[in-house]
């Protein structure tokens, strides 16, 4: 899965994707821009946008559940702990996990593209 172009069609243009009232906390949207797919989430009032297809077998990440996961590292003194509650996007295909805020795949040297997304004049604006 290393040679897959992840978001080569991003244009960097300013796209209004929804009225802010239509994307309240706890909801998400799938945004298709040309052939590109982007998953947009409202988590507790903050918007996040991430490349919309899993690099494994291209399942749509907009349908993934947001939950926590287990970590085990020097900071946890090599004990297994639950972490990142509500910020781990689990692919609905085969459960590969991504940190929704950064695009980092958990347990892989791989990062999905993320996109600026914010509210402006009552609209949700995506830069893609």
């Amino acid at each position: 899965m290393t040679d897959q172009p992840l978001a080569d069609q991003a244009t960097g243009r300013k796209l209004v994707i929804a009225a802010a009232a239509d994307l309240p906390p706890g909801t998400r949207m799938e945004v298709r821009v040309g052939n590109n797919l982007i998953a947009v989430f409202n988590i507790a009032g903050t918007y996040y946008a991430i490349y919309g297809r899993c690099p494994h077998q291209f399942a749509p990440l907009s349908r993934g559940r947001l939950q926590g996961t287990v970590i085990c590292n020097a900071q946890t003194n090599w004990e297994t702990e639950w972490a990142h509650e509500g910020e781990v996007l689990v692919c609905p295909g085969h459960a590969m996990e991504f940190l929704v805020k950064t695009g980092q795949a958990i347990g892989y040297n791989l990062k999905l593209r993320t996109y600026p997304v914010y509210e402006e004049d009552g609209q949700v604006v995506l830069i893609a």
Partner: protein, 393 residues
């Protein structure tokens, strides 16, 4: 949807999180690209939980299974610790992450077929796969009897739907009876031998009546593995593995290698030269290893295998292989290279394992580069030949 630019096709849709795995949404992405192929899904699973079996059990086995199903678990995995006892060592692994695997209903199977993309689905057992190592082979045979009757009754005479019989290898006489009973059914296209935990391995003479019967009815033998239940037979002594990931990763391919080696080294292809074999749900990367590893040893140990008339890889090259579970090969050309290495362009068959959690989406196969001819063969032509689908339309 409002947008500040006009020249780009933009569509924003509200969606919900999926609590069951996404399935074939990717099939329609390919539109015309897939329409030109005959597509055979070589490994498909429908609901064969014990509740489905009970009406088809015979004699006291039916009464005893009815009593068992009156216990609290009702055939539904997950709501009883006793029912999950086989998984209890591994509860902390894949079982805590959605999406969870589901078994498909008949309606779901037909809906998938009605997309018009997959021409044939070959149905394999799911819940019945542990029968090869049930302690009492008579129970295994009773379950196989019920499964075959259920499948022919429920899934026979459906367009494009074909069935692999299941037999319990540890009671070969019973397996022969089952093959004779259904061998001429137009929708029965293979004999599935669950291969995990089979002791002795499947090439042993004990099982040859099964091969003889399958050969008689021109049915190929399909070996199908299973990942994780408790048994202590080589090569998968699951008690040694603390995580399900390890059981899963080693279990399927090592079982496949063991059984391929056993069949070849016991001389089965010499005794039954027209009988076809395949391995499904074991991936592909191990195939060149076992072929050429055996060839190397054969030079030294040939006198242990006096029945063989060719080197081992010459026999193994005749086997067929289901693609699932496609290993995560890093480069787009790697699958073609792998298949070239085991000379499998004419013997590799696309298989999804739908709808199980680890199923391969078709995108997982389409992402690999290969010639048009190779893709056409793997998506359907090889399976049409292996399962005699033209003859059993």
């Amino acid at each position: 949807m409002p947008s500040e630019i006009d020249d780009l096709d933009i569509k924003a849709t509200k969606v919900d999180a999926a609590f069951t795995p996404v399935q074939d949404q990717d099939l329609d992405q390919y539109g015309e690209a897939l329409a030109q192929y005959t597509i055979v899904d070589t490994d498909v699973h429908v609901d064969d939980t014990l509740m489905r079996m009970v009406d088809y059990m015979e004699g006291h086995y039916q009464k005893r299974l009815q009593a068992a199903l009156q216990a609290d678990f009702r055939g539904e995995p997950g709501n009883s610790l006793r029912n999950m006892i086989a998984h209890v060592n591994w509860l902390g692994s894949s079982y805590d992450k959605p999406p969870r695997a589901k078994l498909a209903t008949k309606t779901e199977l037909l809906e998938r077929m009605q997309l018009g993309i997959i021409n044939y689905s070959i149905l394999f057992p799911s819940e019945l796969l542990p029968i090869a190592y049930l302690p009492d082979p008579k129970w295994a045979a009773a379950l196989a009897t019920a499964y075959n009757a259920f499948m022919v009754d429920e899934y026979g005479n459906l367009p494009g739907v074909k069935i692999a019989l299941v037999v319990s290898p540890n009671l070969p006489d019973h397996a022969v009876e089952q093959i004779a009973k259904y061998g001429n059914h137009k929708d029965v296209v293979a004999v599935c031998v669950p291969d995990v935990g089979v002791n002795p391995p499947i090439g042993d003479r004990k099982y040859w009546p099964i091969f003889e019967a399958a050969d008689h009815y021109h049915l190929p033998i399909a070996l199908h593995g299973i990942e994780a239940l408790v048994h202590d037979n080589y090569p998968l002594r699951v008690s040694h593995f603390p995580t399900l990931m390890q059981v899963h990763s080693m279990g399927f391919p090592f079982t496949g290698m063991l059984q391929v080696m056993s069949v070849v080294c016991e001389g089965v292809p010499v005794r039954f030269p027209k009988l076809k074999f395949c391995v499904v749900e074991a991936g592909l990367t191990w195939i060149p290893f076992i072929m050429y590893r055996l060839d190397t040893a054969y030079r030294q140990y040939r006198t242990e295998l006096p029945a063989l008339e060719q080197k081992p890889s010459d026999y193994i090259r005749e086997w067929y292989w289901g693609t699932h579970e496609l290993e995560a090969l890093p480069k787009r050309g790697d699958l073609r290279k792998l298949i070239e290495l085991y000379q499998g362009e004419d013997t590799t068959m696309w298989a999804s394992d739908w709808p199980h959690l680890e199923r391969d989406l078709i995108a997982g196969f389409m992402r690999y580069d290969m010639s048009e001819a190779m893709r056409r063969k793997i998506l359907g032509e090889n399976a049409v030949r292996f399962f005699n689908l033209e003859q059993r339309k």
